[in-house]
Amino acid sequence: MSQDPEQLRRIVEGALLAAGRPLDIAELQQLFDPLQQPQSEEIHATLADISADSAGRAWELRRTASGYRLQIRAELAPWISRLWEEKPRRYSRSLLETLALIAYRQPVTRGDIEAVRGVAVSSDTVRTLVEREWIRVVGHRDVPGRPALYATTRQFLDYFNLSSLDELPPLGELQELAFADGLELAVKDANASAPDAPESMESPAMEPSREV
């Protein structure tokens, strides 16, 4: 028995939109009462109609091994994927300390960082920083185990809007920060007083008795 083509299209369209899985011709026919089932040619014509209509829409009709399905066009992926975007986490204190030590003492090994921090540096922390492309291995220290030496990268400077490491605030000022959270720190000003001569290498905090 023949259906009103408009209604037939609505039903097939609705089924494809609701199913979320491929439907074959027989399944589409079985949406109808046995006495009103459209011929497979009618279903095919309806599908062609639906496919033509989808031009310029978010979806397209695809034929897969198990039948026909509507799916969202691949070119919309960059926007759609944000639906499942996770909330950015925050970095742990130990990661920030590790990053700070690498920035100020590069090149350093994990052992160097651990010696200063007094606690182990996890592989995850190092991996996260490497994956973020903020640190990289620049060599290996010639001691047993040949530990990797880490330094900061160009991307690190770019992220923090620094043209060179010199623009990091000098350590002398950091002393004052030790317990002052949320202190406004003008990086630019710090830059102006960056040390540029050998003798200024020894700021108050840095007695030359360094452990490796």
Partner: protein
């Protein structure tokens, strides 16, 4: 409404806390045959009884059945019918909620009070029927509301979500944002901790030197020898030369690089420390 869950009807005569209530009426009117004025075919009775949602529902049913066009109904008649029904339920071993018995008692009490000589002025609040009517009306509203709710178009029955598979896309996880200040505060914290540990004095060279050390190591990573002078860049000026020189000295001191000279007064070359060069 003492009992939470429906419970088997105790033998009516022995229901303990019901003693002061005129439950004898129930026993007295208990009938084992179907009452003649039941409107339900006997074989459907069981089904109907099971569908009552409680005494109010049963009572409403009885009133509405008798009362399609008549607004007023005789309390004695309704009481009699109600009691017949619960007697039937009991006889058929339905699990009767205690609420049914409480209602039977309430009806019997109303009925008995109606039999007393009426006082001229009865305060409405004192009329035991007022509370019953209020409850019946209230219940009937929500019974209707439940039907209306059930008739609302709802998902999975009348409405279906249009959901299509999303294109393949790796869920993105944005990187955490970091403020430079956070790094400085972290570093300051570490240094403070290190300072408290006397044996860990930390020395920091000028950052420019540190950065240059990393650059030099990076250049030497691929192995081989780099001419000493190639590490200097003239366009950096005197300051740049100083920084590079200090960086090289520091690297040598730390055994990270070696400076080699093939012959006296020959050109200096720099190479990564030996173990760093594959095959050497």
């Amino acid at each position: 409404m003492s009992a939470r869950e429906p419970q088997p009807l105790p033998s009516l005569g022995t229901a303990p806390e019901q003693q002061e209530l005129p439950l004898a009426v129930v026993l007295g009117e208990r009938v084992m045959e179907l009452p003649a004025d039941l409107y339900i075919p006997p074989d459907a009775l069981e089904v109907v009884l099971e569908t009552f949602e409680g005494p109010l529902d049963l009572l409403l049913y009885l009133i509405r059945r008798r009362n399609l066009d008549i607004l007023l109904i005789d309390v004695a008649e309704i009481t009699r019918q109600y009691i017949q029904y619960i007697a039937m339920m009991e006889a058929m071993r339905f699990e009767l909620a205690a609420e049914y018995l409480v209602m039977a008692a309430m009806l019997a009490e109303i009925k008995s009070r109606m039999l007393l000589p009426r006082q001229a002025e009865v305060e409405e609040e004192d009329d035991p029927r007022a509370e019953l009517i209020r409850r019946l009306q209230e219940y009937e509203r929500f019974k209707a509301a439940a039907v209306a709710l059930d008739e609302l178009p709802r998902l999975e029955r009348d409405l279906f979500r249009a959901v299509l598979p999303a294109p393949d896309c790796a869920p993105q996880r944005p990187h955490p944002q970091v403020d430079l200040r956070e790094i400085l505060v972290a570093l300051a914290g570490v240094m403070e901790r290190a300072r408290l540990q006397e044996h860990h004095h930390v020395r920091f060279e000028a950052l420019s030197t540190r950065a240059r050390m990393a650059d030099i190591l990076d250049r030497l990573r691929e192995g081989g020898f780099v001419p000493f002078v190639a590490l200097f860049q003239v366009d950096e000026g005197r300051r740049g030369v100083v920084v590079t020189f200090l960086a090289i000295m520091e690297l040598v001191k730390e055994h990270l690089i070696e400076i080699v000279q093939a012959e006296p007064f020959g050109p200096l070359h720099v190479t990564g420390s030996r173990a760093d060069v594959p095959g050497s």
